[in-house]
Chain length 318, copies 2
DNA sequence: TCAAAAGTGTTATCCTTACACCCATGT
DNA sequence: ACATGGGTGTAAGGATAACACTTTTGA
């Protein structure tokens, strides 16, 4: 146990990795580079007051995106992150909320639905068929692939809880745990690719659907999605993803896009209005077939009021 | 926006900082070094599989404490953390739960109640008098010290919400926010000490009580306390702090020590037993005056079952 | 007998969730 | 007419928090 005062000179490299999220037309979108195979990352800059402000400056300079909300996710320094070529890098990952810009600029950056990477996470139209068709058999095989009875039972229970099999309800917040389970079961291409030694799954053909990413970037994305799904329930961050004015249904669709499940409309509206999170602009929108909807604007003052107290969204079953 | 593959060679130093918590005799305790002025910290080691396992190995080697539960808190790299002598260090902080050992070993390490550092956070006997006597006047002065009316109102509201003045209830989870407010108000010695330029508070005599720490260590401790207070409500981590067998009242006292507020005894017991978190050992304890209490043991299997589903503790008002 | 702690039973209240229904507009 | 979305009323169920009370031991 040594004193902290004179810092140690273990020299290593550090980088920032950003999960930048927007919601466009009822789809949750994430900014990627390298033909959607990587999350944007950059060097750790020494010139800023704090890590947070450093990330903000870097993102805004590179992409011209106004970053509404920024939150640190996790710091990784796993030795085998990069596989055999492991160099000692500390990666500090951040979640950032913004709005998708038509021309997001430069360097082959592009936006994609996060369900491209995690197709099993979208339960807005019920559980996607691929869960029963692909994941469930693969997971069942994995659970049975061990001789010990007790381990089998514990694996099966874990599978059932995470994916909502047998009485269990779907908990949309467990994005990371589900990814890690699939990884452990050898159903994620990234898991197999890195390992030169063990050919983990004999059923390598039956890997889970979803676009793979380099290194552990898909894992970082899962962390970001999970954090955001948990956050929107008690913190008014959704509004960072909305345009200046919006209808209540648009807001609802945004929440649903993030949560990956539908919410009860009447209750949603009541809860939003009760809490006075929004105010009417006086105008209406006739864009979508049906009765014109009132337009609302976020009451920016609630950031001061509720940053502490918190807010509520009616997303059930978590 | 550059690709992540070839890591950047910005060389910097990295260290780990640990908030190690135990509960001994109804007091929440934290391990400190340097005459209780610093949290234990150590170099980032490259030899481990992950950051987490590196921290675990380091702590167990240095202190011989068995670490029950470990969780990453936050990563700091603020330029002015060390004041003028700023060297570029990334500090990765962790929360670790353990049980206090009589001889915690070496290097002037010692355990102290965390309320030594945050005396205003202990509301088990009601709001401590020092809040009304010292904090409230200081905060009031700070809120009035700005000319703008709107800013005054917003400051006063923030103060009231965080400290439970005027109708607001005390929310025990807001440890960090309260510390930051006091810091901003110039009532924390650490805030003044660093600044060579602005003598922030003319009422420097009236700084908040509580033992100061070096650099931002008290802030890191506040982060750890806040995280733990939030965690115990829905995750069965309390048991990491308990001996092998315990009475329900001991368990309750432990929860109360962490939360800094009392809980309703009958409801607490019902909730614990309903969830089958514990099982009777068959023995009883007559240690404390009164009817002998049944001894319980934590059902270790719930870690598998509820790591995902979560648990509940009846701590109200947050 | 009293203090201290262990327990049990019950109720009031609020929040969540859902169901049922009506309104306004475009095709 | 009917599809689509906007919007209101209300009730069932469960979780929470509190009150009142009995039991068992040691001093």
């Amino acid at each position: 146990m040594r004193p902290a005062a004179p810092p140690f000179k273990h020299e290593i490299a550090a980088e920032l990795i950003a999960v930048l999220v927007a919601v466009t037309g009822s789809e949750p979108r994430v900014l990627t580079i390298q033909d959607q195979r990587a999350l944007p990352s950059g060097p750790f800059e020494l010139a800023h007051r704090s890590l947070q402000s450093g990330l903000r400056a870097w993102v805004e300079r590179q992409t011209r995106l106004p970053l509404g909300y920024v939150e640190q996710l996790y710091t990784f320094a796993d030795r085998d992150r990069a596989g055999a070529t492991a160099q000692h890098v500390i990666s500090i990952s951040y979640l950032g909320l913004t709005q998708e810009q038509p021309a997001s600029g430069e360097h082959e950056a592009s936006w994609h639905s996060w369900y491209d990477y995690f197709p099993w996470e979208d339960h807005r139209l019920g559980a996607p068929p691929l869960i029963e068709e692909t994941l469930r058999p693969g997971l069942k095989a994995w659970a049975s692939a061990v001789p010990d009875r007790a381990t089998q039972r514990s694996r099966r229970q874990r599978v059932a809880m995470l994916f909502g099999f047998e009485d269990h309800i779907w908990n949309e917040e467990l994005v990371l745990q589900r990814y890690e389970l699939l990884y452990e079961a050898g159903l994620i291409p990234e898991a197999v690719r890195g390992k030169s030694s063990t050919p983990l799954s004999e059923n390598a053909a039956a890997t889970a659907p979803g676009t793979p990413m380099i290194l552990d970037h898909r894992r970082i994305l899962a962390t970001g999605i999970a954090r955001l799904r948990a956050k929107i329930k008690y913190h008014p961050v959704v509004f960072e993803l909305m345009p200046a004015t919006f209808t209540l249904l648009q807001l609802q669709r945004c929440v649903e896009a993030l949560a990956g499940k539908l919410v009860h409309k009447p209750n949603f509206r009541r809860l939003i209005e009760q809490q006075e999170l929004v105010e009417e602009t006086g105008e209406t929108s006739q864009d979508t077939g049906g009765r014109p909807a009132k337009l609302f604007r976020f009451r920016r003052t609630v950031f001061a009021e509720r940053a502490i107290t918190g807010t509520k969204l009616p997303i059930s079953g978590a």
